[in-house]
């Protein structure tokens, strides 16, 4: 009779990396469903195209059965949620593939990447297809109707759009100085990307992940606080030029970014102190880009910029070792 010999501990919490990842996917299902509710079946097609784009390179070049750990699926879904509903599917596919190849695989795959792959995919699309990615159809209209040139042939000259397009609340604010009722922002009955409209759904899903300890609540909390403080100060200085904190938080991608993008475990700090610094930095950058930058929205760049400094944040926020006054 022979016995198994392993190193201690001989117990485990039962958690696993795929389990965390698939829980995140699960928590994204209601967000995708909300997108489908507002933007029709097109939304689901965009999600599918982006997920397929993310899974394909992971399958080809990733680790053995890497597609099964769920992380590439998250990248695909998250990327889709940052895209306008009417985006041609081939672009969504390309964005997913770019995010995984250049945002993850080139670094060495799962756990090795510096930048959030979904946001890198979006940054690529924004640079490559600036028009397609800023064309926002209005919510509502016939539910079954396509919201843009969904089935465009890759790299062909874009068809003239005959759908009604509208500016996002942020675009309205930035370029026309028009506000949007807060309630519309929270429920999502406004223009915008697939996943940035239904703030309440996103918050509920994030709450689920935080309860299961699959999401560090300190990151979204400090992002919201930081956005609120910086935009609140500006609003107090000049209310006519700068929108108030609630508008800043609930418009655009702040909620989606704070709950699902900034909290990506791989690309966020490991220390609690670091999470506060990271969140505060993102909030500051979001407000700065929105208020003084040329873009209406700044969440993507804010998170990517802070991703880059995560190693430094980790280094300066090491916990104090038990029985010492110094950090490790």
């Amino acid at each position: 009779m022979s016995y198994v010999v392993t190193a201690s501990p001989h117990l485990h919490s039962g958690d696993s990396t795929p389990r965390i990842m698939w829980n995140v996917v699960l928590s994204l299902v209601p967000v995708v469903a909300a997108a489908a509710w507002f933007f029709g079946p097109t939304a689901l097609l965009v999600v599918l195209a982006s997920v397929a784009g993310a899974l394909l390179p992971e399958r080809i070049w990733g680790r053995r059965s890497a597609t099964r750990d769920g992380s590439a699926a998250i990248t695909g879904i998250l990327l889709a949620l940052t895209l306008p509903p009417g985006i041609p599917l081939w672009m969504a596919f390309l964005g997913g593939a770019f995010g995984i190849i250049f945002g993850k695989l080139v670094f060495g795959g799962l756990g090795q990447n510096v930048f959030n792959p979904a946001l890198l995919g979006r940054a690529f699309l924004q640079a490559a297809f600036p028009v397609a990615i800023t064309t926002w159809p209005v919510a509502g209209g016939p539910w079954w109707g396509l919201r843009g040139d969904t089935f465009a042939i890759p790299f062909a000259s874009p068809q003239p759009l005959d759908t009604v397009t509208a500016a996002t609340p942020l675009g309205l604010m930035k370029f026309e100085h028009k506000g949007t009722p807060l309630w519309d922002l929270m429920l999502g009955t406004t223009g915008g990307s697939l996943g940035e409209t239904a703030a309440l759904v996103i918050l509920l899903c994030g709450g689920y992940l935080a309860l299961r300890n699959y999401l560090n609540w300190r990151i979204p909390a400090s992002i919201f606080l930081s956005v609120a403080i910086f935009s609140g100060v500006l609003h107090l200085l000049d209310a006519s030029r700068y929108p108030g904190p609630l508008f800043m938080i609930f418009s655009g991608g702040v909620v989606l970014g704070a709950v699902f993008m900034a909290t990506d475990m791989v690309t966020s700090p490991v220390t609690h102190g670091g999470c506060y610094v990271f969140g505060a930095g993102i909030g500051l950058l979001v407000v700065a880009i929105r208020v003084w930058g040329g873009l209406a929205e700044g969440v993507m760049y804010a998170i990517l910029l802070m991703n880059a400094v995560v190693p430094s944040i980790n280094r300066i926020t090491q916990p104090r070792v038990f029985g010492t006054r110094e950090a490790a």
């Binding site: 201690s8 756990g111 029985g323």
Partner: protein, 447 residues
């Protein structure tokens, strides 16, 4: 001193104590052979005094202490010395051990008192008797008890801390010791307080043992100051530094000892053993061992002669189930997997667990996803994520300034890691590598 009754971080593994927690301790029959390793304690191994063919009686000294930080070893059964030589050791190696063929039908009779009566002895004489009786810490580390009872003169000791936490899952030896022998435990507390000359004892027990807390409280004598403090159930509450923080609010400084914050910590089983050797007059020749896990048919808390082979111990517990797959000496968090049923129970063996295929954890490892759960678990606030990545690259030199020496290999980080990275195993290997490098370096350097 301010009792916090808890410590920060740590984990909540499943307790799995229900199979043995309510079972009264019982005595197992003498096995046909006992094997007593010379190294059963921290410090120098004992020096054998017997040779093959010698007849020894239960309680006879068969190996002498080698210096101060060492204790003698006594025959745990009457019989004939079969051999002195290499034998499987509970730590997984082979080491010198004395094998005794136990006399069948021997009465293992009561003998004239070998340990003197404690009344009338000075503290110093009690401490000497404790060493002579071979008493070591029975919580697992097996540090010689007499050393802990004689702190250097320049350290002011304010209190004795009694460790009744038993935070390792499955184990119920300390629990049963407190519930079944509260008077013995409190006699041990009295003796230790006398040796240390302290006015106060703090008795920490995890809240999941209400019957033990109740038994100890009921048996409290009026003439000594013993405070029983029920503590939060969390692993590793029984680690010295965590326990001291929970009971006194003090942090033992890195690299220092409990003495440096004015306390001495003793495991409740060691406390009971001190009383037992003075009560019975017999040196440490047996201990209580929890045998549990789903792989053993009749789990039990057994009084076991030191040196009993796992084979005989498990036979006394109904044998193994068909799906038994892993045998662990100690608790599941820090215990050592055993590969040989010939391995004996030593003084430091708190329990023997037989895990089934389903209980034994063998999972696929994933890359670190930097979730930070290990930082939240580490009771000494290290960064296992960083240390682990350095260790895997063999960058051991960079691990030392990150306080690797403060890691006590409690296993919390491995327990929570969703990627199943064996962090505590990696750290144990790194510690060994660093120690080796240190011992070989001076030889290389020109003098």
């Amino acid at each position: 001193m301010r009792a916090l009754l808890r410590f920060r971080h740590g984990v909540h593994p499943p307790e799995r104590k229900e199979r043995t927690a309510a079972l009264e301790t019982r005595r197992m029959p003498y096995p046909p052979e006992v094997v007593l390793p010379l190294r059963q304690h921290a410090g120098k191994p004992a020096i054998p005094l017997v040779k093959a063919g010698d007849r020894v009686e239960r309680g006879d000294k068969i190996a002498a202490a080698d210096g101060y930080v060492s204790v003698p070893i006594h025959a745990s059964a009457t019989g004939t010395v079969a051999a002195v030589g290499l034998w499987p050791h509970p730590d997984g190696s082979y080491d010198q051990a004395i094998r005794i063929a136990v006399e069948p039908w021997s009465a293992q009779a009561a003998r004239p008192r070998l340990v003197p009566e404690w009344r009338g002895l000075s503290p110093r004489e009690i401490v000497a008797a404790v060493q002579e009786a071979g008493v070591v810490g029975l919580g697992g580390a097996a540090f010689p008890t007499h050393v802990k009872l004689s702190p250097p003169k320049d350290k002011r000791i304010e209190a004795l801390v009694v460790n009744g936490c038993e935070c390792e899952p499955y184990l119920t030896t300390d629990h049963r010791t407190m519930a079944d022998f509260p008077d013995r435990v409190l006699l041990g507390v009295r003796l230790m307080m006398k040796c240390l000359g302290v006015p106060k004892a703090l008795f920490g027990i995890e809240r999941n043992k209400p019957d033990a807390i109740e038994a100890i409280r009921r048996a409290l004598p009026g003439d000594i100051d013993v405070e029983v403090l029920p503590l939060t159930v969390k692993y590793p509450q029984g680690a010295e530094k965590m326990l001291i923080q929970a009971l006194t609010g003090r942090e033992v400084p890195s690299g220092k000892l409990p003495l440096d914050v004015g306390v001495v910590v003793q495991n409740v089983a060691s406390v009971a053993t001190i009383a037992e050797v003075f009560e019975t007059g017999l040196p440490l020749v047996e201990r209580i061992v929890t045998v549990s896990g789903n792989g053993v048919r009749k789990p039990a808390n057994l009084i076991v002669p030191v040196g009993t082979k796992l084979r005989d111990l498990l036979d006394a517990c109904g044998g193994l189930s068909d799906d038994a797959s892993e045998i662990v000496s100690g608790g599941p968090m820090m215990g050592v997997s055993q590969r040989d049923l010939e391995t004996p129970v030593s003084k430091g063996t708190t329990g023997i667990l037989v895990l089934t295929e389903a209980e034994a954890q063998r999972n696929r490892t994933y890359p670190c996803i930097r979730c930070g759960h290990c930082l939240d678990a580490c009771p000494v606030f290290l960064n296992p994520q960083l240390l682990g990545s350095l260790a895997l690259k063999a960058r051991y030199g960079e691990m030392e300034p990150l306080h690797l020496r403060d890691c006590m290999l409690c296993g919390c980080c491995s327990y929570v890691c969703p990627s199943h990275i064996p962090l505590s195993q990696i750290f144990a290997a790194a510690k060994t590598a660093i120690r080796k490098a240190k011992t070989t370096e001076p030889a290389k350097a020109p003098a």
